[in-house]
Symmetry: C2
């Protein structure tokens, strides 16, 4: 770490990789918005098409308390523009068709059949713009017995396998506490859209892209499928141990002062026998170096409760931060269990541009993780999520060249509200 690397000034940059790429974004909640937000962070012009009355339902997760719940919307809609259109009016619908004619990408994650009922299914849009990349995110895949079913993150995670491998060995299946069914899916669609865009620069050709959340989850379950290949039985839960990796010590160790997240993960690598000796030295148990009871990974696995107790005796008198630092400095992989408040309060994330404060014209400041990949040393600059309809006029001017008089006319015709 050197001071210049963490200077808080000028540490982010506006990415311009996708400058000029026009995206008509019909998405809502998280699976779709996380995808288009990634593209917005790379510089695309992402225009959310929103219902003038309510907008993306992700704006209002707590009915009756709109102003107190902007965060969900912020985290998935930074750097985008919002345009409100009345898709039930013919003029509104035609306006969106005009935008689609100019677009490089269109994307939606409505319930099955909904985009077709709006009159904007793939066949319609392809006829308007044969070069468009038309992307759809659903819960279950076309051809699945459940293809018409609704799905939310937890449904996709249950049916995609993550519950079955999460939780205590003898306990019930458990939900990973993260929305992998949504953002995990959105990332795979973003990759595919970008592949299609790359080719399109050469050929101009459009494509239909489709992903199902259940199918996408399995992409993140591949270690578990590999473990099943070895054992011949379904991958199991193992608490915080990694099932299928026969090694010790490896796991969570309790730290001072004993709060709910006062633990640190410590692991020794099978491939590096020095790790165990280094660890014994660090914790003041040189007496056990070379002890036949704990010599090989197999020996230590056979005596795992003893091994864990030896380490826990040392960790229990130190904070997780000390354990992370001391074990890490000794060249052994270690990590404190950090909670969201600790991550937010750790100023180094903000100094490095990994967390950024969203300055919003309506809502109060909110510190959130931005796009974590750095380009030439800098993460993407975070811009506020749009107010509902904030950019209607701007988009109609930029994309369609409409004058303010024409926009006013559309407004009084009910096309925009």
């Amino acid at each position: 770490m050197n001071d210049s690397a963490i200077a808080p000034q000028g540490i982010t940059a506006e990415f311009r990789f996708l400058t000029g790429v026009k995206i008509v974004d019909f998405t809502q909640f998280e699976a779709g918005p996380s995808c288009t937000e990634a593209l917005a962070w790379l510089g695309a012009d992402v225009v959310k098409i929103e219902n003038p009355k309510m907008g993306d339902p992700g704006r209002r997760l707590r009915p009756g308390q709109p102003d107190n719940d902007p965060y969900y919307f912020h985290v998935f809609n930074a750097n985008k523009r919002s345009m409100t259109v009345n898709l039930k009016s013919e003029r509104g619908l035609n306006l969106v068709k005009d935008l689609l004619k100019k677009a490089d990408v269109a994307i939606e994650n409505f319930a099955p059949g909904a985009i077709e009922r709006l009159g904007l299914g793939y066949d319609v849009v392809k006829a308007l713009n044969p070069g468009i990349i038309y992307a759809q995110v659903k819960g279950f895949g076309e051809g699945s017995p459940y293809e018409k079913n609704l799905a939310f993150d937890m449904i996709a995670q249950a049916a995609g396998g993550t519950f079955s491998v999460t939780g205590e060995k003898d306990g019930p299946p458990t939900r990973p506490g993260i929305s992998l069914g949504d953002t995990g899916t959105g990332m795979l669609m973003a990759i595919t859209i970008l592949g299609a865009l790359y080719k399109r620069r050469e050929t101009g050709e459009g494509h239909r892209l489709q992903v199902a959340m259940q199918d996408a989850i399995m992409h993140y379950m591949r270690i578990n499928f590999a473990t099943q290949g070895l054992t011949g039985k379904a991958a199991e839960r193992g608490g915080s141990k990694v099932v299928g990796v026969n090694n010790a010590p490896m796991g969570l160790y309790p730290c001072a002062p004993g709060g709910p997240n006062d633990y640190a993960y410590v692991m020794t690598s099978r491939a590096n026998p020095d790790h165990w000796d280094r660890l014994l030295k660090l914790i003041g148990r040189e007496d056990l170096i070379g002890d036949a009871r704990y010599l090989t990974p197999a020996d230590r696995v056979a005596r795992e409760p003893e091994v864990d107790a030896i380490i826990a005796e040392w960790t229990r008198t130190r904070t997780k931060h000390e354990v992370h630092r001391l074990v890490g400095e000794a060249g052994i992989p270690a990590g404190a269990v950090l909670d969201t408040m600790e991550l937010q309060n750790d100023i180094t994330f903000e100094q490095r541009g990994i967390m950024q404060v969203m300055k919003h014209p309506v809502h109060r400041d909110f510190k959130m993780p931005g796009w974590p990949v750095r380009v030439d040393g800098k993460p993407a600059t975070l811009k506020p999520s749009p107010v509902l309809g904030e950019h209607t006029d701007g988009v109609l001017s930029d994309w369609l060249g409409l004058s303010s008089a024409e926009v006013s006319q559309l407004r009084s015709d009910g096309a925009l509200s």
Copy 2:
């Protein structure tokens, strides 16, 4: 579902989005290989540069049992080529430099400092090829107090927050049973590489891209940060409930015959009051429709144990598959908890091309999830992971135009082994 949508013949296609894109791949294990595999599925020519003796350590996770453990390597290295080079020999190193001059992308995820010690750090490679996209994946970010530390998936997940939000409310932090720290990071790097490639078609400009696994994990924790924004305290664990969503019923319900994964997730949407009434009708409890005790989401949250018992009484006498089907057909979000064996044995995934059987020249057939996003109705065709050094001659011929005599000379000079 119609028969043509699930026809097993010709349901996959070779994606050609990145045809002609040359990637020099120094990655190992999962975080890096998952990234380059996504690019390979999109059609890039991904050449793994491997140590002639051992190759990617992901090939040999069980020391002494190489032939019984190909699955880990398969799942992250499909559709790639392998070339073996001795980077410790001057000719070997120069050969890789020749490849880097031809490459569009180079990527590595070695321990901090290792690529520089090999003599292939960013400054060296940029001087050879100013237009290259040079990507690096590490455990902790540059500028982090832990930037020099080793990290594996579980370390990144602990330090990135996922443990703190996974597990029972009053239990210890728990590892999500999936390798999000690795593949989750790889996907964010793939997106950024593709953005850089898109721009490069226009400008020819190269960039250095860097991501840390701890930072990437926070991207998947954004719901938890949003919840913290609402409550003002660290996001908590909630078993299989979603903390911060005050709604009932929502959760896992036990199903027949009571095995470790015999559960189904059922949720009613707050936004759709019909869900609760539909569910009561389905489970034969029309008597409770309109009952003041359970009328609103808030009422049901206040009596959540009662509500859960009413539903569990019905689910307990049905299999999870019946519950998934019946609740889903009633228009209420539901999903069975499926394990890896059930997913593997469900033939519909194979019929849709979501799972594919890898036919390998050395190892036995292995069914695994491929790239789940469909392009014009078809997922990418799975090709086998490469045998160590399988494509050395082919790459030297394709990329550098070397004759077989020249390759033989390199081989006898010790550059390739």
